[in-house]
């Protein structure tokens, strides 16, 4: 039999005004196991905790029930109190008589009755509590960053600077991500490459950073502090150690029909290529789907032209297995599919482009060498129409419901840059709202309107078509003057919605990190834990968590890095003892529990058991308590009741139900 103490908190008047705390003490005094009951003004105060500690010692208590606020608030506090008095912290149960009682009920009699019942349920449970001991797990002092864009690079640099080794896994042949494709950045208009490439180089040269480019995460098992990750290093058919990045092969490659992804397929690249001049690593890569050698067995020009002898057609995919203590997801974004918006003629007319395509056209390393030209006839445009919110903020199946956040600013940037460089070009912008909060952002937008005379039109575009002159006609509405407008233009630029990168769902599944309906990774708390995933040891950096611009991405990347460093700085982690546990004598070894476990925490072993003197070898379930998170899915799936959850056992919950339904 337990010796239970019940402590009823007044919480000042928060509880005591609606619950007759004396009556509660009186009512629970004679409950089975209770040998001490009292109330106090603030149980969580020093004095209140002291009172509990004294009572534990004085009455030799084996378990305590605190009737107070939500366990989510002070369970940890009272567990610590119990521990300080020599009691196992898991011998504490909380009856939530504030949030679930005094704060929502007005009638004192009713609230008091309910408080007594909640207290009884907690007493019934604590009667069946057993001392539990948390486990410990080691921390592998190495971090993995998935994604090598500005978010991943920044997180990796910050972790590496703190002294911990970091691996960056980037699926494309170079790090740099979307930022590398940008021409200028708002609101300062400095060139993206000028600020990004030094960071890329720094990452490449950092003694604590190792970059796996052209690689993907294949599998993740394990848990916080102890992730086992398989990384597939895809064959690039070029020896990274030998290649000097001279780019002779890329110029000589005769297979030139395929699009150049870096330039949004506005021009072509060879089958062997270096994505861009400042690529890191600056190593060529053969696209085997386009390479003549892989198709016909002939050619081999690159191999012959390479003075370093780096080309190796026999290179195979390689699987690297590595242990990590923490994982940062920095998988970024992609431009959503605008082909769904047929009314804008994107698929039909080369002069209808996305904003990212415009970035490439404006960039000196782009398909037009930085000259603003119409893609249809390579002529200088006279009029440009920008259409905002293409695929954002909508409620049809084509749209994202969210605001992509960066489009207002980059459109203002584009408009301004065009007007600056080509004052003869008329720029019109159709918008729903202009959203430019942020330091120096609204000023930036106003400069576009006031200083550069960009024509902002509040309203949406209905359709775009090619007119008789071979130019484009844009039909839209001006909501402010409430009239339909028709504009003849040379180019239409779509501010397409951004969406999480393809494959992020797959990565989230591997990490058991949750994902929202838009495939953005969910944070542990939207306000208080914005860079942590609810899955311990997984952190979020950049747009994979939600749309954001470069400064926001960089600050979040840094924040994620701090969380990683905080974790890696620990030598050991304490694991919750509230995990599942299989009773060997009752387990059937039927594998049902294994199927429902989201963490792969259950496996089966053939073990000799002693069933009341009968010794036999049985297939039985074994829970890895370091992997188990204590959800309890297995306990209900188990037909024999062999699987139970410590801290929330079948008998404990049954006892609570019993106490409530008395």
């Amino acid at each position: 039999m337990q010796r239970i103490g019940v402590f009823v908190c007044w919480c000042g008047s928060n509880i005591a005004a609606t619950v007759d705390v004396d009556a509660v003490v009186e009512a629970v005094k004679n409950e089975p196991g209770v040998c001490h009951a009292q109330n106090y003004q603030y149980m969580c105060s020093e004095a209140g905790q002291g009172l509990i500690k004294n009572a534990i010692k004085e009455h030799n208590l084996t378990g305590i029930v605190v009737c107070s606020c939500s366990p989510r608030m002070h369970e940890a506090t009272f567990r610590k109190t119990a521990e300080q008095a020599g009691l196992n912290p898991y011998m504490v149960e909380i009856a939530n008589i504030r949030e679930h009682c005094s704060w929502i009920h007005k009638d004192k009699k009713e609230a008091t009755e309910k408080a007594v019942i909640l207290a009884r349920a907690a007493i019934a449970k604590v009667n069946l509590n057993t001392p539990l001991r948390p486990g410990e797990s080691m921390v592998t002092k190495r971090a993995l960053v998935i994604g090598g864009g500005i978010a991943g690079i920044q997180s990796a640099l910050d972790i590496a600077d703190a002294g911990y080794p970091v691996d960056i896994v980037e699926k494309s042949p170079t790090i740099g991500g979307k930022m590398a494709q940008l021409d200028k950045t708002f609101p300062t208009l400095d060139c993206a490459a000028c600020i990004l490439t030094p960071k890329m180089v720094e990452a490449a040269q950092h003694p604590n950073i190792n970059i796996y480019s052209y690689s993907e995460v294949e599998a993740v098992t394990g848990f916080v502090g102890n992730f086992d990750v398989k990384i597939k290093k895809k064959a690039r058919f070029v020896d990274e150690k030998k290649c000097t990045g001279c780019a002779v092969c890329t110029a000589k490659c005769p297979s030139r029909k395929g699009g150049n992804e870096f330039n949004c397929n506005l021009d072509n690249r060879g089958a062997i290529y270096i994505p861009f001049a400042q690529a890191v690593p600056n190593v060529a890569c053969i696209d085997s789907t386009r390479c003549i050698h892989f198709k016909t067995g002939k050619c081999g020009i690159c191999e012959k032209s390479c003075s370093a002898g780096a080309v190796n057609f026999d290179q195979k995919d390689e699987i690297i297995e590595q242990k990590y203590g923490a994982i940062v997801v920095a998988t970024g974004f992609q431009i959503s599919d605008v082909t769904k918006f047929d009314e804008f003629q994107y698929t039909k007319h080369p002069d209808v482009i996305t904003s990212l395509e415009l970035e490439r056209i404006m960039n000196a390393a782009g398909p037009t060498k930085g000259t603003l030209l119409r893609m249809s006839n390579k002529e200088h445009p006279k009029d440009i129409v920008f259409i905002q919110c293409v695929g954002s903020r909508g409620n049809t199946c084509r749209d994202k419901t969210y605001c992509s956040k960066i489009c207002c600013m980059y459109t203002a940037k584009h408009a301004m840059l065009i007007r600056e460089k080509y004052p003869d070009v008329n720029v019109h912008v159709f918008y729903i709202d202009v959203r430019t909060p942020g330091k120096n952002f609204d000023e930036f937008y106003r400069r576009a309107v006031e200083q550069y005379n960009v024509d902002y039109i509040k309203g949406m575009v209905g359709k775009v078509w090619e007119n008789e002159e071979g130019r484009l006609t844009v039909q839209g509405v001006d909501l402010l003057s409430n009239r339909r407008i028709m504009l003849d233009t040379d180019m239409v630029v779509l501010a397409a919605a951004i969406e999480p990168s393809e494959g992020v769902r797959n990565i989230a599944t591997m990490l058991t990190a949750s994902i929202d309906t838009n495939d953005f990774l969910t944070e542990a708390h939207p306000k208080l834990r914005p860079v942590e995933s609810p899955t311990a040891g997984v952190f979020l950096s950049g747009v994979c968590q939600g749309p954001k611009d470069i400064p926001e991405t960089v600050s979040q990347a840094g924040a994620a890095a701090v969380k990683v460093v905080g974790l890696l700085a620990k030598d050991k982690l304490v694991t919750s003892p509230c995990t599942a546990n299989a009773n060997e004598l009752m387990c059937n070894g039927c594998s049902t529990c294994e199927r429902v476990c989201p963490y792969g925490a259950i496996d089966y072993i053939d073990k000799e058991v002693n069933d009341h003197g009968k010794r036999e070898v049985r297939r039985i379930a074994r829970v890895n308590s370091a992997l188990c998170h204590g959800c309890g899915a297995c306990t209900v799936a188990c037909p024999s009741g062999a699987m139970d959850l410590q801290g929330f056992s079948n008998r404990q919950i049954m006892a609570e139900v019993d106490a409530i339904c008395k």
Partner: protein, 153 residues
């Protein structure tokens, strides 16, 4: 089987057990409390780590003991703290509640609601509505009497 008359219904206070998952619904209930959004005192909450921890036996126990309604709340599908727990719970509860209905426990006496930690208002609304429904149904049959026909006679 509903013994109470309408006149008695005014006095009738149902016994309602609510199973709430620790991460979403229990926190949602806490938020309802913090926001002072009231719901009837007849609702008694039992905390479980996840909706997938709710063993049908707990619910049978409640009905056996004479509960008038049982409601299970968990994170919205897709938002489970343990990523998949509520999907299993959803199937289990669907089948269990269908079975209880088949055995004669009025289907309005069982309910599943997904309540997030941010939905204090929803928690309160749900509990008010459920309590109202169950109150209108009156006192429940006792599932425990399913096997006691002779003793009743």
């Amino acid at each position: 089987m509903q013994v109470s008359e309408n006149t008695e219904n005014k006095e009738f206070k149902p016994l309602i057990v609510a199973f709430c998952c620790n991460w979403c619904s229990y926190a949602g209930a806490d938020l309802a409390g913090t926001s002072r959004l009231s719901y009837p005192a007849e609702v008694k909450i039992i905390r479980v780590p996840c909706s997938c921890r709710v063993n049908p036996m707990f619910i049978l126990k409640a009905f056996e003991k004479g509960a008038d309604g049982v409601i299970m709340c968990g994170c919205h599908p897709g938002d489970c703290h343990y990523s998949t727990g509520n999907y299993y719970a959803r199937r289990r509860m669907t089948l269990l509640f269908s079975m209880l209905d088949y055995l004669g426990i009025d289907r309005a006496r069982t309910r599943v609601e997904w309540v997030s930690a941010a939905e204090g208002q929803k928690f309160s609304l749900v509990m008010n509505d459920f309590a109202k429904t169950v109150t209108e149904l009156g006192e429940n049959i006792k599932l425990g009497d399913l096997r006691c026909k002779k003793q009743q006679d």
